[in-house]
């Protein structure tokens, strides 16, 4: 009797999960075809030398692609550029997003108007933004006119390797901060008013309220914003592609990892090597995200 019941139970469990998988099948199929398969194929490619033109041929080369990666100066230049870019852009855009969100949340007059104005850069296509900024950055452009007007030094923003990447940074901070601002804004409105009231009764001033109430409560959102920011900035491609016409110049100043991958695939037709670089990038992003999760997690426990 008991055995029968048990069998019945297992049977119904199996049926239940079968139905579950049945419902998920379309999504699983899409994921398998468009996410899992390409990843597996990329793993395969990273160990091959691929002849593409005039009949596709694969040749197993073991770790040679990775060995070449270690010796390739351009990979390290691209990595350094990308790291510098991430190190400056992510903190700035996070802080800026937080500032924008708090000021909006504090109830400035015409809040909706400001919100729209702030959000406009984010919904504009990044290709268009880059083209507009290239005009602003022109040696005779708006930015230099302004700098000259307030008696600051002017730069050749597009042509000078020392500042070209900075130009892209400014542009990107300006255009992505509002997106994260909206996320912060939603989170700020989630914080119950009663906590602020309690803080006020305890005699906390506005600054203390922000520092000891708002910031800690925003921590999960900050984690999300920083993680997304890092992933997004590590994948910088379109701005530097348009900026340098695909070359990563001047003098490799705007060469980023993804641009380098693009060059190896579409210019040099070296799929295998490009896949190896892509793995390097994936490994870096995963490591940093895990590290960051561990850091944030540790603080929350305290």
């Amino acid at each position: 009797m008991r055995l029968q019941n048990r069998q019945k139970y297992i049977h119904s469990l199996l049926r239940e999960s079968a139905i579950g998988y049945g419902f998920m099948a379309p999504t699983l199929l899409v994921l398998a075809v468009f996410v899992v398969l390409p990843i597996l194929y990329a793993v395969f490619l990273a160990f091959q030398k691929v002849q593409l033109l005039g009949g596709i041929e694969y040749e197993f080369v073991g770790l040679r692609n990775f060995a070449r990666l270690m010796a390739d100066d351009r990979v390290w230049i691209a990595l350094r550029n990308t790291a510098e870019y991430v190190a400056i852009v992510v903190p700035s855009q996070t802080v800026l997003a937080l500032i924008l969100a708090t000021t909006l949340n504090a109830g400035v007059r015409g809040q909706t108007g400001w919100r729209i104005l702030y959000f406009l850069p984010t919904i504009t296509s990044s290709a268009v933004l880059t083209l507009i900024f290239m005009w602003i950055y022109n040696t005779n452009g708006l930015l230099n006119q302004f700098l000259a007007f307030i008696r600051l030094p002017t730069y050749n923003w597009i042509g000078d390797p020392a500042v070209a990447l900075k130009g892209i940074m400014i542009m990107n901070i300006w255009s992505t901060a509002p997106f994260f601002m909206v996320i912060y804004l939603a989170a700020l409105q989630e914080i119950p008013q009663s906590i602020y009231e309690a803080a006020k009764i305890d005699g906390a001033n506005a600054w203390q309220q922000f520092w000891y109430v708002t910031l800690p409560l925003l921590k999960p959102v900050t984690f999300f914003v920083v993680a997304m920011g890092i992933i997004g900035t590590f994948q910088l491609f379109d701005q530097s592609y348009i900026f340098s016409n695909g070359s990563g110049g001047p003098n490799n100043a705007t060469l980023t990892i993804v641009l380098l991958i693009y060059q190896y695939v579409f210019r040099d037709l070296q799929m295998g090597y490009a896949a190896a670089i892509a793995f390097l990038l994936a490994a870096i992003i995963i490591t940093i995200t895990l590290l960051q999760q561990w850091l944030f997690g540790k603080q929350t426990m305290n």
């Binding site: 070449r68 100066d73 005779n140 001047p250």
Partner: protein
Amino acid sequence: MDVIKTRLIGDAAPDVFFLDALEAPFLMENNVLEPLNSYITPDFDLADIEETLLRPFTLQNQIFGIPKDYSTLALFYNKQAFVDAGLDHPPVTWDELLVDAKQLTLDRNQNGRIDRYGLGMIPELARQAYLIRSFGGQVVDKQGYATFASDAGLVGLESLVTQYRDDRTSARPIDVGANSGIEMFGQGKAAMAIEGNWAIPFFQDTFPNLEYGTAEVPRMNNQPGTMVYTVAYVMNRQSQHKSEAWELMAYLTGKTGMEQWTRSGLALPTRKSVAETLQYDHDPLRSALVAGVSYAMPWQVGNYPAAVMNQFNNQFISVMLGEQSLQPAMLRAQEQANQQIKAAE
């Protein structure tokens, strides 16, 4: 080009497309183009086409492309600027150019920002490769490996760098906020520029009042030199419609077709007979360009042009900006390019 390569790999390339001489060696080597020898009839009159322009599309006696048009580089000079500076003829040698450039460089309001430079220049291998040859250097060897950093190759480039860095009588378009060399020249920010046939229709449209003349590129080391850029029609080896494809190519590059396409002056004809009919060798602006064909260096740098070009351009800009001196920078560029080529082969 990125698109054509991708489509060739995906068997989705068009039957006929046009191909830059620069990209030709790689595609010829990889057997994706149809050899045209068997299609060419005596009627087509292959001998009428300039030999210099056909050679970039030939590999082991097989012809893979029929050049449709070309442009060389010539010296464009602003007539008014020359009159103002008291110069009555364009420079014939590079030394004269350097002297003239000093006289042509102007800072009208003495604010330290130069309003007009003597020479507008583009620090790219595609534009300067002929200078490497003028003292006997080579950009690449027969196997396509970079060799531009030889002592002989650097002499010509050095004079370009010195002029930019020490004389300050030349500038890049980007230094003056222009998008191209022709725009810089058209706006009067450079009194001379070394440009091609594309400049003539551009000036007609954009700067109709500009008074300029052309002359052959000044001789360096008493050697005439210039670049020639050419584009050919080629046939996809996978094409399902080869005879129709050839019919189209034969018309476009034949005598009637070519006359039709080059009459407007947007491009120079590769057929001697068409050039004669259209009288471009007597055209006051185009004769200098036409004259260059006989001694020009075709813009082609082996099977891996991207590696050679990118490394050169990257390091050369850094030399121009004074970050490093020419020889070590070029040696590094050459070594890196060759490393990249070796890895690709």
